[in-house]
Amino acid sequence: MDTDSIDREIARRSLRLYLPISLGAALLFFLAATGGEYPWVARIGGAVWVGILTLIIAMPVVTSWVKRRARGPDRAAGKSASQAGRREPQG
């Protein structure tokens, strides 16, 4: 399997993890807000905002974690520092 194919696979696996995490966080917020006397706009707006921020956090963390697992022990070592804050592969 060539590098691009591995990267595409990493992207797919990452997406399958960080998207549910973000949607889950948004849903949790929505449910929590529904328990109080908040207007609908606030509940939906808040859920969207929490979802976006969670996505921004989860995307690089999950992608980096999946890459580390996929690329083997050597590359993972010594690269983790610069990888946090990142990144989905090309393709």
Partner: protein, 856 residues
């Protein structure tokens, strides 16, 4: 994914026969996860199939190296465009390190470069550029010399123009938005501002082109990054501007939507936040290039043409087309195109731009000249010996560039913090939003509350709008741009400033280490001392001191012994006219016998005098005193009678004692290491006020002595000859090769002092300390801004004072932070080393012991 395999062609060097092939194949096959190996001798390549989850490239490379072969690496420098902060550095570095075959990637924000070490064949420059583009930046291969300089300057000017244009639009339209928003407070100015400007939809219409014109760059850049899982500063700005603009639009079009209604249209926030961020970018672009002014000065020295002598004709050819062996004519006032040896003519050449030497250097036939230096007075011809990338100037430029592209440990830490900071900030933004949404708003919100430095009231803003506002402010106020700039900008200015004085740091780590030194060890011979004996003392028995010197010097005139030459030089310095001896005989191990002006002169050691029954009586005590001072004493007898004593010794170089005094002022312990006997070493140490003497140390043991000092917990620098002292220089925390001349590429050590001037050690330490002081100041200002700004932005003060930071104020603070760091760095340009500003005569007289003359 462990079932997947990766196929690569790994280059292998050092294989010479079929058995080598078998060794390499065996070594690679033994690595767990390798499925298939086929090694070919020519062109030295291993075709591999392996499971990347079990066998990494590093493991494969180690396997090859363990059996005695080498996986070659190459280096490339890419110019990166679009980086704005430390998180960009982390993204680009990460993207490049991800590529198979890339062994090392170091990105420099200040220079806008990425330097890579990679395994050729596994990855191409095209793949590297694509990887950089994929995370949202532009990349291209870096050219050498003037082209790179021109391109870099052009790119910077283009960025200044682009951001200047954006700023003009954002500021001009932003002023109209402000006028409309605060129409009620304009007082007499209402007469010139039309009332319709205060209509919300008009303000909205004015804000829209700011957000989607000048502000568009933040959205497009962050989107490009997001597509590849990158969260950078642009995202912070985009969410900040986007959220403020989005709420404003909703509140204008749907005032009853619950976002605060018409009282909370944040159009001016979106407009001014955009304007302030662009102001910051523009100021940064304006000032950032100035921190690398030194390298630009060096590059400008490279002459464009040379006047080559071809037969009878003089032909002007581009300097980069000059070949080794070409004869080049240089006229007064012209720059010297390449390095070479003077063939004919005489002149004085200004070399200050490369060596820091302020006085022009005289050049005669056979002397070397350096490309890039300036011919002052006469015309001469020289033969080119080094051209293109081999010239001293090209080597110096490369060294300084490499140093500027490297990272100090403190910078790696700052980059790591900034790289991770951005995720922390987003997590904090969620926490702030949740707190104010579920708890804070209901408990603390006051409709009469307002923004800091603004009369604007929050009014009827709802729980979502208020929580979102604080969350967005945290994102904007947390930008770690200043953190990312703090170290590289200072390092660039520091290495450049050092180069101006002929001090070349090989890396940022050398600067950081040099600022922490506690002990500095000088090699004695050739470093602190001249490395050749000089006439120091004359004691006469009956005649004048000069007569003693005269007779001794005439007797030694034909001698080739270093001590004899020292006496002849001493006589010449004293202006004594010297004739020729009538006869001369060398007596091995004892001295000489000569006939001078019909008198029999004996000059040598005690053994010689004892053998000839010459009694020195009262002079013996003087001889012992001089020997105790580490000097070599020679006895002079004329016609069988004691005539005088002459002492010679290796003397301190000019400025050595002054330099050591300065080092003491800097709080350093100064040691001297030498193979000489302790008495001689201590005599020199006393003159120079050395604190610690490491005598009778064999050359091969010098590194061990350095190691012992380090074992005692000291940061140690070693100053010495770059060739003979190489192991000790390498062992020291900072190795300084002194007097290398301009052949800097061959030098070992972490710091290269081009001139043979001990004071440059002080220059190196002072530059290092000044640079690290700037780094610390910059980091302090960058972090203090975030440490104070984030809690205030998160609404910590709101329960007490009902004041919140508006997003636009957060943007302004962020811009001020980045610009203040860059401006602080620019103060380094005023740095002048203390040894250059103090009086040169001080100390110099005390250093070189003038030959003493006494009469017994």
């Amino acid at each position: 994914m462990s079932e997947d395999t990766l196929e690569i062609q790994l280059p292998v060097e050092g294989m010479t026969c079929a058995s080598c092939v078998a060794h390499v194949e065996g070594a690679l096959r033994d690595v767990p996860g390798v499925a298939r190996v086929a090694v070919t001798l020519s062109p030295g390549r291993a075709s591999l199939s392996f499971d990347p989850s079990r066998a990494g490239l590093d493991r494969l490379r180690r396997a090859v190296e363990e059996v005695g072969y080498r996986v070659p690496t190459a280096e490339i420098t890419l110019e990166i465009q679009g980086m704005t902060c430390a998180s960009c550095v982390a993204h680009v570095e990460g993207a490049l390190k991800e590529l198979p075959g890339v062994q090392e990637a170091v990105v420099n924000l200040g220079l806008g470069t990425a330097r890579l070490r990679y395994i050729p064949g596994l990855v191409s420059s095209g793949q590297m550029k694509r990887a950089v583009r994929n995370v949202g930046y532009e990349a291209r291969e870096r050219d050498a010399g003037l082209d790179a300089l021109d391109r870099e300057r052009q790119a910077r000017q283009e960025e200044i123009r682009r951001q200047g244009r954006n700023l003009l639009i954002a500021a001009a339209v932003g002023l109209l938005v402000m006028a409309g928003t605060f129409y009620d407070m304009l007082g007499p100015l209402k007469a010139i501002v039309p009332a319709w400007l205060a209509e919300k939809w008009v303000i909205g219409l004015l804000t829209t082109p700011i957000v989607f014109g000048p502000g568009r760059q933040f959205f497009t850049n962050s989107w490009r990054g997001l597509r590849h899982g990158v969260a950078d500063m642009n995202l912070l700005y985009a969410t900040g501007i986007g959220a403020a603009y989005g709420i404003a639009v909703i509140n204008t079009l749907f005032p009853r939507a619950g976002f605060g209604g018409e009282g909370a249209t944040f159009f001016e926030s979106a407009a001014l936040l955009t304007a302030f961020i662009i102001l910051g970018r523009w100021l940064e672009a304006l000032t950032r290039g100035r921190t690398s002014e030194a390298i630009r000065k060096l590059m400008r020295l490279q002459p464009k043409v040379a006047r080559v002598v071809r037969g009878e004709a003089e032909v002007e050819v581009p300097a980069d087309e000059v070949e080794v062996g070409d004869l080049i004519l240089v006229r007064p006032g012209e720059s010297i195109a390449v390095d070479g040896h003077v063939q004919e003519g005489y002149s004085a050449v200004d070399e200050s731009m490369l060596t820091g030497e302020s006085l022009p250097v005289e050049k005669h036939g056979g002397d070397t000249v350096i490309g890039g230096t300036l011919n002052k007075t006469g015309a001469f011809k020289f033969t080119a010996t080094r051209v293109g990338k081999d010239t001293a100037l090209a080597q110096i430029i490369k060294l300084v560039e490499d140093a500027q592209a490297s990272k100090a440990p403190i910078q790696k830490l700052a980059d790591w913090v900034a790289g991770h900071f951005i995720l922390g900030v987003h997590a904090l933004a969620i926490a702030v939003f949740l707190f104010w949404f579920f708890f804070g708003y209901s408990r603390f919100f006051d409709p009469a509350s307002s923004f800091i430095l603004s009369p604007y009231r929050l009014g009827e803003i709802g729980v979502f709008g208020f929580s979102l506002l604080l969350s967005v402010t945290v994102l904007v106020i947390s930008c770690p741009c200043a953190v990312g700039l703090a170290t590289p900008s200072a390092m660039m200015a520091g290495t450049g400033k050092a180069a101006e004085h002929g001090v070349l740091f090989k890396g940022a780590e050398a600067i950081e280490n040099a600022s922490h030194l506690r002990t500095i060890v000088f090699d004695k011979t050739g470093t602190l001392t001249r490395g050749e004996p000089s006439l120091t003392d004359v004691v006469s028995a009956e005649a004048e001191a000069n007569e003693v010197v005269r007779l001794a010097a005439i007797a030694e005139r034909r001698s080739e012994h270093p001590l004899g030459e020292a006496i002849v030089r001493g006589a010449v310095v004293r202006g004594i006219a010297l004739g020729e001896p009538e006869s001369f005989d060398s007596i091995p191990g004892q001295g000489i016998e000569a006939r001078v002006e019909s008198r029999l002169v004996l000059l040598g050691n005690r053994k010689l005098m004892d053998g000839r029954d010459v009694l020195f009586g009262s002079l013996l005590s003087e001889a012992e005193r001089l020997e105790h001072e580490g000097k070599t004493v020679m006895f002079l007898a004329v016609d069988g009678r004691a005539f005088g004593l002459i002492a010679v010794a290796d003397t301190l170089k000019d400025h050595a004692a002054a330099a050591i005094e300065k080092l003491h002022e800097l709080g350093l312990e100064v040691a001297m290491i030498t193979g000489d006997n302790r008495r001689t070493a201590e005599a020199i140490a006393r003159q120079a006020r050395i604190d610690r003497v490491l005598a009778e140390v064999l050359p091969q043991d010098k590194a061990e002595e350095i190691r012992k000092l380090q074992a005692a917990g000291r940061k140690v620098a070693m100053v010495g000859d770059g060739v003979n002292d190489a192991p000790a220089l390498a062992q020291a925390d900072v190795g300084m090769a002194i007097g290398s001349g301009t052949d800097v590429a061959k030098e070992t050590g972490h710091v290269i002092l081009i001139k043979d001037d001990v004071r440059d050690v002080v220059v190196a330490l002072e530059v290092a300390k000044a640079t690290m002081r700037k780094v610390r100041q910059n980091l302090f200002w960058a972090f203090i801004y975030n440490m104070l700004g984030i809690p205030i932005g998160a609404g910590l003060l709101y329960p007490l004072f009902q004041l919140v930071v508006s997003p636009e104020l957060a943007g302004a603070l962020m811009a001020v932070s980045s610009v203040s760091v860059t401006l602080n760095t620019l103060l380094l340009r005023r740095f002048a080393p203390s040894t250059r500003t103090s009086s040169p005569s001080h100390g110099q007289r005390s250093l070189t012991p003038a030959p003493a003359a006494t009469s017994a």
